[in-house]
Subunit: 370 residues, 2 copies
Amino acid sequence: MNEPERSARLAGPVRVVGAGLLGASIGLALCAHGVDVILDDASPSALDLAIDYGAGRRAAVGDAPVLVVVCVPPDVTAPLIERELAAHPDAVVTDVASVKLEPFLALQRRGVDLTRYIGSHPLSGRERGGAISARADLFYGRPWVICRDAETPGWALGLVEDLALDLGSTPLEMTPEEHDRSVALVSHVPQVVASLLAARLIDAPEIAVALAGQGVRDTTRIASSDPSLWLQILRANAEPVVEVLRDLSRDLDTVVAALTSINSEGEATPGTRRAIADAIAAGNAGVARLPGKHGQNRRFVTLTVMVDDTPGALGRLLTELGEIGVNMEDLRLEHSPGAQIGFAEIAVVPEVKQRAIDDLVARGWRIAGL
Amino acid sequence: MNEPERSARLAGPVRVVGAGLLGASIGLALCAHGVDVILDDASPSALDLAIDYGAGRRAAVGDAPVLVVVCVPPDVTAPLIERELAAHPDAVVTDVASVKLEPFLALQRRGVDLTRYIGSHPLSGRERGGAISARADLFYGRPWVICRDAETPGWALGLVEDLALDLGSTPLEMTPEEHDRSVALVSHVPQVVASLLAARLIDAPEIAVALAGQGVRDTTRIASSDPSLWLQILRANAEPVVEVLRDLSRDLDTVVAALTSINSEGEATPGTRRAIADAIAAGNAGVARLPGKHGQNRRFVTLTVMVDDTPGALGRLLTELGEIGVNMEDLRLEHSPGAQIGFAEIAVVPEVKQRAIDDLVARGWRIAGL
């Protein structure tokens, strides 16, 4: 992708406390930009590993970090923020914990001056932890939530924004409450649901497991996450999570009641049929709101172009799209080893669809469904 | 796609009734093996599309199929099996419906002689239907359940096994009851859960949806499935599905009760903490029972290339892949709105992966995760 080596926005040294997946990934990315990264971890072996990996250097006497990034599990985030604020009185302190309100309130209760603290949360992660899974590109293209408050000085906010931008993320300002309710919905509840669904497989007969396909794999993939980390997250964000789980439980009861009313010959009342179909249709509407890869973003429309199944044919199509100045927002390929032709489903903003079709047809491309 | 032309086990003509995703995919694959495929569909336009796509030919006077494969929605499967048994008295008739007991019992109740009928179910599918989504490799490496009974003649069973083997599937014998209980667990319940979870996103604030990551995408991907098809499936398999959903509902209530008992400072009793951690740990144990990681197509491996979000950048990548002689088997794009960068996940045969990486890196492309 020919990404030039950009110079970092952050100038001074950055201290990263916690050398796990997130801390080591931040260190790797900042080091790649030439930033002086000071790493620290309560575990000497975790620290050694991250340093060997190239994620930063050991602390030294006289270090004067401009920014401290606390990258430790939620349970110990608040005490470490307090410690770092005291130890580095000239630095801005941020953290990357996936819950924002509870540590903030805990620090307030302890009377800590939070002027130099700005909570943040990069929406990146993997189901595997540790420096060994770290990637400099972990944050590329992902949102980075920043929770400022009225007292946050602009220069301090700027430092955390620079961190996000240096790592290729998109900074997004939210209140801690907005953040916690949002991640309850799009991260914490999906984790609980995936775990509960996967747990049903424990006692499954061997022959049932043998029939597992991509659907159950996808729905349960994140069920391999770390229980002790998730206990901390769910504890700290219990109320917003419970709110969503209660709605989910009510919907589940509705489906169970409908299915229970079907007789042994598969006969169902119109009301029962509607309840079941409505539940699946509501899922269609919900998943369509997710941006990105599925190409179902409502901001975009799709056109489907037929493409010969030869190497380079798709490349030619996309090059020509570039030539006619059409920006492709998403792409899905449909093709089959047995077929002579494939379909490229291209998402574009609605305004350019007709022009794209006209120009492509003029260049000899065939549009499916016209 | 460099697929070697294998000779088919099936010799005589095969009649495929229903030219949707499964019927057209079966037709494509059999045609690629040189089998004479006779296609039929109640919709003339669906039939035309599948024939244009290369999935078979139109029926002709004097056709004498050895095997009829009924590939229609569950609701009309039983009547079409009955019709085909009568119309083709020398043929074996099978179907591919995802529920096996209910159509079998329906035919028995109607007094149909089922000696020449063998129910089957290929565990393949996509969240999108229609011939336009058909692929000859849809069944490759997947189980194909075959439900014989005591009266099934060996030669008839052999024909259905040959069909499965010709399509690259693994035949698996089960009773209809075993089959239905198994798919309730690994397919029907995950569908219901994904739909209910996705439905929670309908009223989500824009800002929450903006934080969505791979976890919620994966857990809700199949929520884009067709409501009318799933109403038919769930109706026909209500009892086994309800059994699993009830267990799931009980587990969900346990987690909700535990989370509710946590106070506003995040304090929890040991019993509460254990209940939450146990739920996540049970998910670990359940997901560990799933075989393979990328089951759907084990013939291919993927590499992920970073691509600038500019018109033509992806076209350049694919053109260069053509220049270095790497044949792309599949492509998925991952890209967040607002991001300067996207990821192109390219599937290739394992033998060329390292060379593709080396050549792309030499040309200045960046590979994610290296």
